[in-house]
Amino acid sequence: MISERFRQSMGWLHTWLGIALSAVLFAVFWTGTLTVFDKEIDQWMKPELRIASADNVSLDSLVLQRVATFDTGPDSVIWIGPPRDRQSVIRLFYDDAAGESHEELIDPHNGKLIKPTDSDAGEFFFRFHFMLHLPDGIGYYVVGLAALGMMILIISGIFIHRKIFQEFFTFRPKKRARRAVLDFHNLTGVIALPFHFLIPFSGLLILATTYLPWSMGVPYQGDLKQLRTDQLGYEERKIEPAGVPGGAIAAIDRYRDRAEAIWRSEEGRASSSAEWIAIFNPKDANAYVMIERYFPDRRVAIGPDQLTFDLRSGDIIGRFAPQPVNYVNNWIEGLHWIQFDHWPLRWLYFLAGLSGCAMIGSGLLFWIEARLSKGRMDPASVRVVRAISIGSITGIIVATCAFLIANRLLPKVIGFTDVPRHEIEIGIFFGTWFMTFAHAALRRKKAWRDQSIFIAVGAGAAVLLNWLTTGMHPVAAIDGAIWPVAAMDALLLGGAAFAVLAARRLGRSGQGAVTDPARPREESDIAAGQAV
């Protein structure tokens, strides 16, 4: 049996880690939840990408001519990304002879070049999710520490609760505000427990060589690059360039089709699409092609699965697939990357992410209100702590709305400044976020309600602005089967409606639910959750 002492120490750990990490954890969970739909956010924020998907795209006829004009060096690599389920455009990446990187997007229907709006869109949330937009990789370590803390919070949270089974189904909104908040914290925490544990775990595993560089390097005498090559089969050149110019590459479709046929027959799946076609040593007599699935579409475990073809003989000259331990590792990493095609599961991830946000937010809220009711904090500290909580919970959501609104309001080409457009968007995100902290410090408890109203107005405005600037209102998006935009609009409108409800509820409970003294019977129940 678990001793009372042990439970108390877990309560202490839970409380202090929770206070220290809630703000960061909420930001990471929120941006991670948005990243579940990163490509859909891309389509919303870069309207040029709203292209209906195309079947049986021939890369030979659409891109090979264009690729032949690239100013590549003899040992360059050209990466061609054919259309996939969530991304209908063709992507081209290469380094030119001077070593500069280029990216091009191609319309799969006519082979025309697409110039998208200059926005970081979903990519911004993705990078913030593990780097927090901090310089010098500091973000990696802050997020890493937060992820570790999250796992400890989950474990200690399990130990301090005696009646886990009952908490699965308990939510009493009509009870006092504090009890309801604690119920909500326990409920959202406990129902998705494996998810809340596996997400930080897999996140740390993805960055294992960043967090444990020395240890991971020991078997390799410190050569982490070799470790990465062994793990990922990456960019290992199978044939060196001959130094003799070769003709333009005439066909790549047939290699893609062969690779897909091999994967299909091995896995027995109806579809199994290639993610990348890499042309090594283009324009050289020793040019060759690699077909890769880094993120297989019908498998959780990420790859890479690579098949390398010699262009002269057409033979398979190299094949990479992860070994057993790495396959398990890649399954764990894959469940974090969520790059597979599985729409029901993608939505479940989104909801589970939201439940994580709700768990973190309600935990922080409960702690503040519990302390306040005991009169343990002086007014100045209350103000600071509350401002930080409000800014980090509702504030980042307000900032997200501002980011979307700025994206629709800024002209596609900005004349009056040299600052790139995507940086202005990011500046508006952080500027708004900063202001929400100031607003919370000024408005104190009323800021909860205020910012809920900001969210409702902001989300609604985003939908409206998308309609005005692109002509695509939600019904038109559904009508034209542009599902990413339809779903984004629906989520924004749903979020706005929810924010209105929250604002109304907060308006009511603002009158004094917090100041009413805790009843002794419930106090013992609640003590388990705070044990300070």
Binding site: I152, L205, L212, S215, P219, Y220, L227, D230, V325, N326
Partner: protein, 95 residues
């Protein structure tokens, strides 16, 4: 535990995080360097180390936070960590 001073609690946290990290780093290196001697490929061993190292870190943190004799616990962890950190590179060298 609940009667401890702030200093003692900070000490626990420091041992849990830093000592725990050192222990994890040592363990991951040991697994990565040691298992190839039993025939596992080193890329597999290094990856296995990372997968097992994280749970070990969690166990250490929980242990330090709840230990009845925190000083002894800290000593055990530090000694084990240093031993593994010193031993692992030698194992790798022999492989």
């Amino acid at each position: 535990m609940s009667g401890e001073t702030t200093l003692a609690r900070s000490g626990r946290l420091a041992v849990a995080l830093i000592g725990g990290y050192a222990f994890t780093a040592g363990l991951v290196a040991m697994i990565g360097a040691g298992l190839p001697h039993w025939g596992m490929e080193r890329v597999e061993a290094a990856t296995l180390g990372a997968i097992l190292g994280l749970p070990a870190y969690l166990v250490i943190i929980i242990w330090v936070a709840s230990s009845v004799r925190p000083l002894r616990t800290a000593l055990v962890i530090v000694v084990a960590a240093l031993t593994m950190i010193l031993l692992a590179p030698m194992l790798a060298g022999g492989a």
